[in-house]
Amino acid sequence: MLNNFTKKFDAVLTVPLVFYVVVIVGLIISATVKITPDKVTSTFANPAIWNSALRSFTTSIISTLLVVIVAVPAGYILSRQRIKAAGFFDSIIDLPIVMPPLVIGLCILIFFSSTNVGRFLDRGLAQWLAELTGRKASSSGFFIFNVGGIIAVQFVVGCAFAIRVIKSGFDEFDHRLEDLAMTLGASPWKSFFKVSLPNTMPAIIAALVITWARVFGLFGPIQLLCGTMRFKTEILPTSIYLEYSIGNLNGALVLGVFMILTSIITIAVFKQIGGNKSKI
């Protein structure tokens, strides 16, 4: 067996892996051991925390669904390289990945506050809808200091990651099967939905989970655009920040561990759904 000859080689390469795993597990354990049932009860006794958790889940799920709607076709078209500007688009997609998240938040803030299109989308559309429904127009817009802004930031940051993962899924898939499907009578649409999409589902599920986990914990750019207003724009990462800033380290710790556990459970569930072919 080849394994007998590569034992030493494998052992050396395993050291950095073990080191990193120890760091991660150590960090999680050091945070978890500090938590007592009393601390958990007192943290979740605050209705603002429940409100924040609910907003965190709803915004991250909505933005992840929006991301999938954009990332699946985008990942496919980038993978197939049939459009002329594919290389250019590909480079642009990398920008949100390499840009500091805070800068993305700043750019979104400038867009909604200083450009005509942005102002229309933020306030103009809100006023128009208020007039249409006969309600009193809100002083704030859809995005700046509002929940729409949380979803917008999560979408912009998460989409790039999702496109990358989904594109690699389509890259791995044998595109000759799409050609074959077309010779068997399937239009490009049918070929996409009946052949390409079902065969890249593990990558799409992986993208979904990675995106959700990424946007669920997003803090900096959301705080910049939406602020940290209790019962309005507060999400779990901002709750951690608020609890920490008022000196309630225990509350911050409980929420941090709650977010870690939620992420672990989500990844485990999706791994179960994805089975052996899971890309997560």
Binding site: D174, R176, L177, D179, L180, A181, M182, T183, L184, G185, A186, S187, K190, S191, K194, V195, P198, N199
Partner: protein, 210 residues
């Protein structure tokens, strides 16, 4: 017809296959036999010239409207579908009624002796079994033209020639114009009405089989 892909080109190429004929195309590796089949199937488009099927120029007709049965060299099957669902694919996309679909699948599976494979997934099949399933999928929709790219290359030596005879009798029964690529002389003699030899990167010479 002329065609170019990367460093490879087919120049001033012409080939005529009479309706209902079993035509075998042989030639050296890299001479463009598979490329030619992909051109006819519509996977590639010629730079100039045309492709006529039943007196209709199909150059501007997309592959899914050409009514062609294509069996690729590698025995490609859709990995997420069972054998039955693979064979069902051409009927499914043509929205054939379910009762008819079941009847057609069973008939073609019986004809190619693959009925016992119907509920299996492609990953557990041998190369030869995959090629038989590919053939079933290619003929189930009763195409005008059948394109077979080395359809017996993965069949074991023992049953290869019996399978060739089956291919021939199948073509006779279904009366499908067939273009078959082969490197094997015995295989060619067993199935061919006509044989074409494709010289490397030049036009094709056609000759009647003996």
């Amino acid at each position: 017809m002329c065609f170019e892909i990367g460093d490879f080109s087919l120049n001033n190429f012409s080939l005529e296959v009479k309706k209902g004929t079993y035509f075998v195309l042989t030639g050296a590796n890299g001479s463009g036999k598979t490329t030619l089949i992909k051109l006819i199937a519509g996977i590639y488009s010629p730079l100039s010239g045309g492709i006529t099927i039943n007196n209709v120029d199909v150059k501007k007709i997309p592959p899914w409207k050409r009514n062609i049965g294509y069996l690729p060299q590698e025995g490609l099957l859709f990995p997420n579908r069972t054998v039955k669902e693979n064979i069902q694919f051409p009927l499914e996309v043509r929205k054939i009624p379910k009762s008819e679909v079941i009847k057609e699948i069973n008939a073609v599976a019986e004809m190619l002796e693959i009925s016992e494979l119907l509920n299996r997934k492609p990953e557990g099949l041998s190369g030869g079994e995959k090629q038989k399933v590919c053939l079933a999928r290619a003929i189930v929709s009763k195409p005008d033209v059948l394109l077979l790219d080395e359809p017996v290359s993965a069949i074991d030596e023992k049953s290869k020639y019996a399978y060739c005879q089956k291919l021939k009798s199948l073509q006779r029964r279904l009366k499908i114009t067939t273009l078959h690529i082969s490197h094997n002389k015995t295989e060619t003699e067993l199935v061919a009405d006509e044989v074409g030899i494709m010289p490397e990167r030049k036009g094709v010479e056609t000759q009647l089989s003996s």
